[in-house]
Symmetry: C2
Subunit: 181 residues, 2 copies
Amino acid sequence: MADLNFTLPPERPARTADAAEGADEPIWDIIELLFFAYRDFVGDPDDVLAKFGFGRAHHRVLHFINRNPGIKVADLLVILKITKQSLGRVLKQLVDEGYVVQREGENDRRQRLLFVTPKGEALALKLAGLQTTRIARAVAEIGPNAHETARRFLAAMIDATDRDEVLRLIARAERGGRTRR
Amino acid sequence: MADLNFTLPPERPARTADAAEGADEPIWDIIELLFFAYRDFVGDPDDVLAKFGFGRAHHRVLHFINRNPGIKVADLLVILKITKQSLGRVLKQLVDEGYVVQREGENDRRQRLLFVTPKGEALALKLAGLQTTRIARAVAEIGPNAHETARRFLAAMIDATDRDEVLRLIARAERGGRTRR
DNA sequence: AAAATACGTCAATATGGCTGACCTAAATTT
DNA sequence: AAATTTAGGTCAGCCATATTGACGTATTTT
């Protein structure tokens, strides 16, 4: 195989003439790269989680509680797009083992607001650190514009109906995750 | 996504903006965008697959057979990083329902070389089309450099040990793989 | 002839989803 | 005040996808 280390030949103009046709050629490279990149991206945390007796589901729950302290159970369900029964199972373990605590809502005492404990935050940060190392390495390899372009590309990949909500969610957590009263 | 309203007290000290110092600061935006983008990216195929009684596992198997006609079972296992038992169940369904055929290797009659049928290719292309639509939309939104940058970013996210192998795989399939049915 | 290889299969187990039903406590509506 | 809705929890069972381990069979290699 010839060398195509990371100066991949631009294969966009591969179908110059028939580009106007409706039969769009699948964008195989991005499809496959997303598969492999995501697999490795979640693979690092998976290895650590296994040592704690946790799985990917625990990671997602812990992540979003850490990023959005005080989040309501109902809102977490919306973000994760799972049922409360599915959430309940992993959440119970995280609570029982001291990674997450629940507090009664002040205004509405039916609510169980979710917070990570110091222990939970430590684990969340450890896992995020692994992923950050990978991302930082990728960005460093490619150049300073990579972060911004990657962010915009990934945002554009999100369902249009959800995108603004997701970006708000990220931005809000970026500011510290609370307020908004 | 429903409106998310957090009403809760400040719990965590505000992070120091996006200071350049934070070499240890997690890259939250990419971490979360990857989660949401990948979820939607595989969501489109999932909906179609459900109508066929298939799942995501069938998609992956069908995809890589379609892209690498004549692939050996052993090689497919390496790509997917699953066990032959896991593959076996899914592959059997795809064969039984006429999406994939197996042929004895010419040189080595122990091998079962895998090919998609026309029916299988049609499904693979339909699923790839959905994902391509999403990617093309994202690329169109961002600009002409997006495809190239996204490709390089995603490639750089792959484990260094696997990367060259993956890129070879993609490049080889891009050229048409090997013998067609 | 023996060993290694490619593949298949049986059995048991784990994870993480799902639906449906039902429960309590608290808030809201009537 | 009573009725209803909401937030959340829980029990029970099912499904899809993954795992490990053991074993079998045909074929190739040594």
